[in-house]
Symmetry: C2
Subunit: 179 residues, 2 copies
DNA sequence: GCTCAAACGGATAGTTCATCCGAATTGCTC
DNA sequence: GAGCAATTCGGATGAACTATCCGTTTGAGC
């Protein structure tokens, strides 16, 4: 990918900046263009689909999650590694509404996202393998199912008036332990 | 509310019939009208908003849930009552995608829905009160939070390829028990 | 079978979406 | 710093969809 021309970089940054001030689910390209002071065509050129824009908006958060996965992999207590990682992932997903769709998407538009996701999901798998082996997480539960549970918890937290995720997280963690 | 004229009843039934064959989230009124062989205006007259249509589509399922709540209230084992009801509610929500939005909506368009919801939510509250008193459900958890958890589980199950809700349900039930 | 309130249908105005292409800008070379 | 090719810009544009309005039709009661 060749370096961006200076005007293109400026447009891209403006669009992302404006997009960050909108609800993640209600990104209307025409509005973004007007507010960013660029043409609609410019927005569509930089981000052919809404998902491409969401990926770009989410990239920072995804990198933070990647770092947290590495930290969890360095943790020797398998149970603590799972608890820390799930809490962190849930927090990030709550903070950045676009994260869940990006994590769940089967296809990624950007290579950076694909690489980050690969490390994140691989590390997560590894942490769960250890946790199952240590007997701190039910063995009859796939990695994908645990991911889905975190997404479900995000959904549950968002339904509440207060966004206190802790009770929900505790229920998830208690539920994950073997009977 | 006066009885429906015969042609109106026919139109309404046709629209509901067609709507049932569509994805709950993608109900486009113009399409429904064409497929049902009525004018768009007719659709909008019967169902001023998408939510009104979803309520109408959901009413049967809501009645089934009401019956299940009554059954759970008759159950003497508080823990079993909770488990049975949550499983049933989750199944119904998975079966009828419109149920979650209807249950969560603060305002209801139809009186029948309002009444059914009132009994359902009241009964659910009662069952949880008993369960907390019996020490089979964590006391630090509001009824609303448990409702949100069920909705979160629905979300989690839908994310999976297989729609086997049982593992998710087991995790929820295990998590709900006091530590 | 007459009346009239109720229901019907679809034309239409108002939005939003996404593309296309002539104009303008940029960075490179000399 | 002038010329040039490549890239990007911007918004006009048409397609798709929403929701309303009103002249016409239908059905129920007398």
């Amino acid at each position: 990918m060749p370096a961006l021309r200076s005007d293109a970089a400026r447009s891209r940054a403006r669009i992302l900046d404006v997009a960050r001030r909108h609800e993640p689910g209600a990104l209307r390209f025409n509005d973004l263009a007007r507010e960013a002071g660029v043409g609609v065509g410019t927005v569509y050129r930089h981000f052919p689909t809404t998902h491409a824009l969401v990926e770009a908006l989410t990239l920072d958060t995804l990198e933070r999650l990647r770092v947290l996965v590495r930290a969890a992999l360095a943790e020797t207590d398998a149970g603590r590694a799972v608890a820390d990682l799930l809490r962190a992932a849930l927090d990030l997903q709550l903070e950045e509404g676009g994260l869940q769709p990006v994590l769940l998407a089967a296809e990624d538009e950007s290579d950076e996202v694909r690489e980050a996701k690969q490390e994140i999901l691989g590390g997560f798998e590894q942490i769960l393998v250890r946790a199952r082996a240590a007997g701190v997480v039910r063995p009859d539960l796939s990695t994908a199912q645990v991911e889905h549970l975190v997404c479900g918890m995000e959904h549950a937290v968002r339904l509440g008036a207060s966004s206190d995720r802790e009770p929900y997280l505790q229920i998830l963690l208690a539920g994950l332990r073997p009977a």
